[in-house]
Symmetry: C2
Subunit: 219 residues, 2 copies
């Protein structure tokens, strides 16, 4: 990783156009070709950036980072007015391990679909439709089909998504269930108006790491 702190101007042309007037900023060149411009505010996002694969060219005070983007080209031009610091460091690139993402929720619910409704059993995960896979396809005690959409957070979009699947599933009388760790009130309202059942689930409880909420009141 090469780090340059410099007074500079930066212009971007590509999907849109941007200008950064002369000021002091941090320029990051990652070994994989990534290029980022950060300043001392604005949190998470770089002011300008380019993701690999890139071509980096330097002509004295001018740095150009380019990238083929379809038929056109994305281009970042940096004009260096004063370099205050320049360093290089070999860094590692170990992967980040995550726990608690939607897939983990899906794994637990696939293993115990009964929490989503009495007598539910799994037919298959990632049931294919022509517009994308249904997270879980189940049948209930009566043999009726139930399509389950799983989200970390249940929003209106999730209800719409499940609604599209139900239209395309091609099974009459297939019910819909939205399962999420939290469900927004407006999503719940929309779901009810479409006959979609909402179930809030808790990953830690599903894993048996924590008692259901009931115990909170029983203590």
């Amino acid at each position: 990783m090469r780090l340059i702190v410099a007074r500079c101007e930066v212009t971007y042309t590509g999907r849109l156009s941007t200008v950064l007037p002369e000021a002091t900023r941090l320029l990051m060149f990652k070994d994989d070709g990534s290029f980022l411009v950060h300043d001392d505010a604005g949190g998470y996002k770089p002011l300008n950036w380019m993701t690999p694969p890139t071509i980096v060219e330097e002509y004295g005070e001018q740095i150009v980072v380019r990238k083929r983007a379809g038929k056109t080209e994305d281009r970042l031009e940096v004009r260096l007015l004063e370099v205050l610091s320049e360093t290089s460091h070999p860094l590692d690139a170990t992967p980040l391990e995550k726990d608690g993402i939607e897939r983990h929720l899906q794994e637990e619910l696939a293993a115990q679909p009964g929490v989503l409704g009495d007598g539910l059993h799994l037919v298959r995960r990632e049931w294919p439709t022509d517009i994308g896979p249904v997270d879980l396809m189940c049948r209930d005690g009566n043999g009726d089909w139930v399509a389950v959409e799983i989200k970390r957070i249940g929003t209106i979009d999730a209800v719409e998504q499940l609604g599209r699947y139900l239209e395309r599933i091609g099974i009459e009388s297939c019910r819909g269930v939205l399962a999420a760790q939290s469900i927004k009130p407006q999503a719940r309202t929309l779901a009810e108006s479409r006959g979609i059942r909402c179930v809030e689930v808790d990953l830690a409880v599903l894993r048996g790491e924590r008692e259901p909420e009931l115990t909170l009141f029983a203590e």
Copy 2:
């Protein structure tokens, strides 16, 4: 901005849990409280981060960055095993000026709604509904209402969004138009099945900076 290059372990607990095993990485502390962990790959995104407002505490080899997140707490813990470099630089924070975003498209189309359909004229921008504003509300030559949703890229979500507005607008026979710089084929198909018209527009042409595509064939 304070930059530390160090061999370190990083753990995050909050909306989910993550672990970064021991390796050499860049730690960025911005003056506004932002904290970012980058390595030498992975492009745009930090491996771990926290956006302001944060509380940063240091206990020798241990750095803790915390944030109230509703009733719980987000927490990043960094265990420093070897500091390879540590520097501080005063940076500026000038705003990024953008051109070519959705709002600019909306401004041009508000000024010349005729490109969206014969005889269309604007009634108002940001027409309020109970689920959000319609970008442009127009009437055509017959006095019929037309709701316009504007996007840089027209996707299925945009069609759904316009569909929700049309349901809620409370005007019988209000037509829908999706205007975008490019429209995905599947969005186009869904739009047609819902009676929504699709129009591709070009910001440079709307601004009179470039001739319409026709001239490409006429040269």
